[in-house]
């Protein structure tokens, strides 16, 4: 079936192209309805990725956070009209040790191949997760981002030692906020401190035990483990602060993306016997866990709705540009495209 794909062909320029979806391939055809813009999409849209990366990746449809409605399922597992969250990570092999999101062979939407800015998206059946009708679809649009936090938290649970009296999360942006919400849901007994730069943003973290300005951390403050949700140029300072304030043998989970190598105080990492581990993206199990937490902790949806920014109906390429431009000028929050293509 002919399918309209809206690909970024150059910075700030989307063009219509077509592909042909094979209706006999066993894939599910989903019509996107709610798409959420991520920093990674913005780096392509604004052309701030290195020129060679832009040249290699474009043209490509952006967006890897989104949900849609099933249009066609040859196996009949899903009914037409059923809401599903789409999983952007697409493994091509199975491995008993390495998770699907770390396999170098896995492909990722809007990074290795076309993302969700399409009329229809064809997916292997295990790349969709049903969404309960009770969950707000605007919030569910960025479930992928949420599942990245959930993935990091599950990884923390399997890697960090059992002394978890106080945990610190660095970062007052969307990722820090989401990781904090789910940390509280998954580890309610642990005290959670959040470290950020913007007092206004930090005031939104009403559900955590303490918030601190990174400019003014009490000298004697100690944490057992830490999460870095900062990324970019500020990563260096954040990671070294964590190293300063963490107890020996603690773990530091790195979630923030940086375009450049980050210098780290390895002397103190050695002296304290710290473990730094990366977390990136997520897999099907993380999506399932996330959707389960939506159900068991309905208050989460309320917290997440606080970071919904602009909602923009998209019927044309001009609307797509408007959504991305609006997203650039926000301070916090997710821009949602109400996709009607």
């Amino acid at each position: 079936m002919l399918n309209t794909v809206y690909r970024l062909v150059a910075p700030r320029r989307f063009e219509v192209e077509f592909n042909d979806i094979d209706l006999h391939s066993g894939q599910i055809v989903v019509r996107p309805t709610h798409l959420s813009i991520c920093h990674a999409d913005q780096r392509y849209y604004q052309g701030i990725r290195p020129a060679e990366v832009m040249r290699e990746k474009l043209p490509m449809a952006l967006i890897h956070e989104g949900l849609g409605e099933v249009v066609y399922d040859p196996a009949g597992t899903f009914q037409p009209g059923e809401s599903v969250i789409m999983i952007p990570n697409t493994p091509v092999e199975q491995d008993d040790i390495i998770a699907e999101n770390y396999l170098r062979s896995s492909r990722f939407r809007a990074s290795g191949f076309d993302g969700f800015m399409q009329e229809h998206v064809a997916l292997v059946p295990d790349r969709v997760v049903p969404l309960d009708a009770s969950v707000d679809k605007i919030v569910a649009a960025f479930t992928e981002l949420v599942s990245v936090s959930v993935h990091a938290l599950r990884r923390f649970d399997s890697i960090a030692h059992e002394r978890r009296n106080v945990i610190g999360i660095w970062g007052d942006g969307n990722l820090g906020y989401i990781t904090s919400i789910f940390f509280k849901a998954m580890f309610p007994q642990t005290e959670l401190y959040v470290f950020g730069v913007d007092q206004e943003k930090l005031s939104q973290f009403s559900f955590v035990d303490e918030t601190f300005s990174v400019m003014d951390i009490p000298k004697g403050l100690r944490i057992d483990h830490a999460f870095e949700c900062v990324g970019g140029a500020a990563s260096q300072k954040a990671i070294n602060q964590m190293i300063d304030h963490i107890q020996p043998e603690g773990t530091i989970s790195l979630l923030g993306v940086s375009e450049y190598p980050v210098p780290i105080n390895t002397r103190m990492v050695l002296e304290k016997g710290l473990r730094l581990y990366g977390s990136s993206r997520s897999g099907r199990e993380d999506f399932l866990k996330t959707v389960e937490l939506y159900k068991t902790h309905p208050e989460i949806i309320g917290y997440l709705s606080n970071i919904v920014g602009a909602q923009i109906e998209v019927r044309s390429i001009a609307d797509m540009n408007r959504a991305f431009e609006t997203d650039i000028h926000k301070s916090i929050g997710k821009t949602i495209m109400l996709w009607n293509k």
Binding site: L2, R7, E17, D20, A61, E119, R315, K341
Partner: protein
């Protein structure tokens, strides 16, 4: 009940020196008519898809549908078209009447078989507004200035472009109403019909507009075929 009515009745006289009607030419790796049928096939709203084509192409069309849709071919009925576009539509309504009965809300979404680039949204909005208003036409704003000339030699008038639209398909109608209006037309009135929405307009009935897409092109001339081919070829450029 909602029916998809795909009009493949034309014999392609404008297509130049080709042997087949244009809807049977391949674009990408499938005949154009199959691309068009597939867009309707995945939409759950349709009770059946009716494909109306020239008599001598009925069997061939059935074979193509079986070849490309497999078991899904059961969802598609291939019928013989009429002498004109509107007679073809009347054939489809006659079939629906015979097999399912036609009531006030029976809706037909009629579409040119040579417009394979229509979108799910266009179909969806045709159904939505067709049920609500009874008659819908898919259009895009005119980008060229339209001029009217009665004698073909000099301009009679230049209508305000802001009020001008170019008609595409689908066109969607309540089947019963369409038939009633069509049968009430005089032969002279029937002669000036270029499409089905005009039947409503002549009779003073409202036809609502659904926004089409610039790329929802009608493959009419060899040039269009080249354009369509290049649009589909672009899939290879996606990373």
């Amino acid at each position: 009940m909602v029916f998809g009515v795909i009009l493949a009745g034309g014999i392609g006289s404008r297509m130049g020196n080709v042997e087949k009607p244009k809807q049977y030419l391949k674009v990408g790796n499938k005949p154009i008519i199959i691309h068009t049928i597939e867009k309707f096939f995945v939409h759950e709203a349709f009770t059946k898809l009716l494909v109306l084509c020239p008599k001598q192409w009925v069997e061939n069309t059935r074979n193509l549908v079986k070849k490309y849709l497999g078991a899904g071919a059961e969802h598609v009925v291939v019928l013989e078209g009429g002498t004109t576009r509107n007679e073809t539509i009347m054939n489809s309504i006659a079939y629906i009447e015979k097999e399912y009965g036609v009531d006030d809300d029976t809706l037909i979404v009629t579409h040119d078989s040579v417009r394979p680039f229509l979108t799910y949204r266009i179909i969806e909005e045709n159904i939505k507004y067709g049920l609500e208003y009874g008659a819908v036409d898919t259009v895009i704003s005119a980008t060229d200035t339209i001029v009217e000339s009665v004698d073909g030699k000099a301009i009679t008038s230049v209508p305000d472009r802001k009020k001008m639209y170019q008609g595409q398909t689908p066109q969607t109608f309540k089947a019963k109403k369409l038939r009633e209006l069509y049968l009430s037309l005089s032969e002279e009135e029937k002669e000036i019909l270029t499409d089905a929405s005009k039947i409503f307009v002549i009779k003073g009935e409202k036809v609502y507009l659904v926004e089409g897409e610039v790329f929802n092109i009608k493959i009419t001339y060899p040039y269009d075929l080249r354009v369509a081919e290049s649009l589909i070829q672009d899939q290879k450029s996606g990373k």
